[in-house]
Symmetry: C2
């Protein structure tokens, strides 16, 4: 029903295509521009004909071609989302928020993995450009500076979520890393900890630097000494965190608490502690960052700093909508991190002297 036989020029076999505006025009005995307007409820068309046309359109299962429309309007109602990997639980929640906002405003999401590979990330963005997306969101991009030439070429509005190169881009949504990790560290201090380790990401990444800085601020604020040997680095994954934890435990005076760069790191820490038969938090406390879904299912449930991931995606998309409509939204949106106290943090075994 919604398909019309058409006979193409040289070809003898009729080819099936979706019904177009012209098919409807023929049936309704009007010009196809009238059909176009009628379907948009243009005031230029009388109620009577509009209704007649809409009825025919409905009956023949007509659906406008977004690609034809996109060609003439120069807007595809499409936004591109670049992620390192959609299988990353952090990322997928952000994308969930983006998608929701998109859906609210009639946009579709084109998704592409970069696999954290700068080359591939560039290719992905170029393919977005070929698709003429109206805007782009990039989550956790690590190739910040490379965008600059690309962007000046493309002139596509872009918003970054938790980018590692703040200041280099105009628009971004960022978590309050400093505040969040300060609160987490303060929490441990208030529980009575004095030797608190920081298990970071690869050295030099912006978010690692900021979270470390929050940790330092908390120590300084409580007038506690800073022990450089209590600062070690992983890579944001759990494997490396296991090794790093063991290094910490081998210290002559091991920490009584470990504040981790993120939850995946904390997972590795928990596992390492478990292997050593250390009890959490009785023997040692652990605090993470992110509040991944998994954090409430570890043993014990993980005390961590929540990033409102869906909301951050939603905000990024809202910001992008403003950009696309020609407004100039606030450049860097920062959202507050929230300490979630569960059961992996408690007072240290021995009271400090």
């Amino acid at each position: 029903m919604p398909f019309c036989k058409r006979v193409q020029k040289g070809i003898t076999d009729p080819v099936y295509r979706p019904t177009s505006i012209k098919d409807i025009a023929r049936k309704a005995n009007v010009s196809f521009s009238t059909v176009s307007r009628a379907l948009q409820n243009s005031p230029l068309i009388s109620r009577r004909t509009a209704e007649k046309i809409q009825k025919i359109a409905r009956e023949s299962g007509y659906r406008v071609s977004a690609v034809a429309r996109g060609l003439v309007t120069q807007r595809t109602k499409t936004i591109g989302v670049v992620v390192t990997s959609i299988a990353d639980p952090f990322v997928s929640e952000v994308v969930d928020g983006i998608e929701e906002c998109c859906n609210d405003h009639g946009y579709s999401v084109i998704l592409a993995n970069s696999n954290a590979d700068p080359d591939r990330e560039r290719k992905v963005v170029q393919s977005f450009y070929e698709r003429r997306v109206d805007g782009i969101v990039v989550t956790s991009s690590r190739v910040g500076a490379l965008y600059i030439p690309l962007l000046s070429e493309m002139r596509v509005p872009i918003v970054l979520v938790n980018n590692q190169h703040p200041g280099e881009f105009v628009h971004s949504v960022m978590i309050e890393n400093v505040q969040g990790s300060r609160e987490a560290t303060n929490h441990l201090i208030q529980l009575g900890h004095r030797r608190i380790a920081y298990l970071g990401d690869r050295f030099g990444h912006q978010s690692d630097t900021e979270r470390f800085s929050g940790y330092r601020q908390a120590l300084d604020g409580a007038a506690l000494p800073f022990f450089p040997e209590l600062v070690v680095h992983g890579d944001g994954k759990s494997e490396k965190a296991i090794a790093a934890t063991e290094a910490l435990l081998r210290l002559p005076e091991p920490p009584t608490a470990i504040f981790c760069y993120n939850d995946m790191t904390a997972l590795g820490v928990l596992r390492a502690l478990h292997a050593r038969r250390l009890r959490v938090p009785a023997d040692i406390s652990v605090v993470g960052f992110d509040d991944l879904f998994i954090a409430s299912y570890t043993d014990p449930p993980l005390t961590t700093v929540r990033q409102p991931k869906r909301r951050m995606g939603f905000l990024a998309m809202e910001s992008l909508l403003q950009l696309m409509s020609g407004q100039n939204p606030s450049q860097a949106i920062t959202v507050a991190a929230e300490l979630v106290v569960r059961e992996s943090s408690g007072p240290p075994r021995k009271a400090p002297k």
Copy 2:
């Protein structure tokens, strides 16, 4: 550089657009059809002009408009992926596999959440149709029958992953539910368990029925009695599983092992057992299904049945590629499930009499 000033009809302000094939034609002093062919490396164009044109295109940052191309070729090189929620860890891995295969073949993924709402799912599919996607993949759809009218309207190739209505659709990728849960149950039997509970999904779903059936087959195969009171139902989430576990533990003769419909259910079970201070697997064994990433981080790490999620997504996409190229691939692809033994399963406390 890649943008050209154009003066539109009535409008005095020049408007910026991406450089088009025509801009290049002007610069190269050839017709735009020559440019089109040159950029496609058509043998009709001499090497010399082709190279000249390609150079100009490169220098002016030209990128072909996929939307214009899609209009004329009637193929958008785009596939639509419907998911219940991209934040679901199972789904996001499947999508990861789909995306990889798409990327290999020059397709882009349009993603949309259905939130498991049939109405929204229909709308999503219609919006895919308006975008003229070349094919559609739906993961974990629960609204199977509703597709039939939609599909006959749209004539878009479609492949379902783990759909709950096998047989109603032509093409699907399914996990071997029966085999997987039979192996899981056998594993428990071999460990010496005689009272094994099955904690299922909502009653009536296809995958639940099949996994239950594998459980029964294993019992029958070992000539073990089936105890109806050991079969309870949750909803695939961990909350309900907690209540269900408590019901099992209240039985006069509680099970020594619980086989769960999926890992999320197992998570709830572990939590409930933990709350009761029962040790796993010393006091009771737990086995899941899915092998979500989280399964190796629970305490103890979860014995479970692995679904090769990425591969299933990849296979679905390969199947779709075949459909789109006019071939008729095998209708229902089933992939084997693999038992992954970790530490949540062990011999029962007391040897069976």
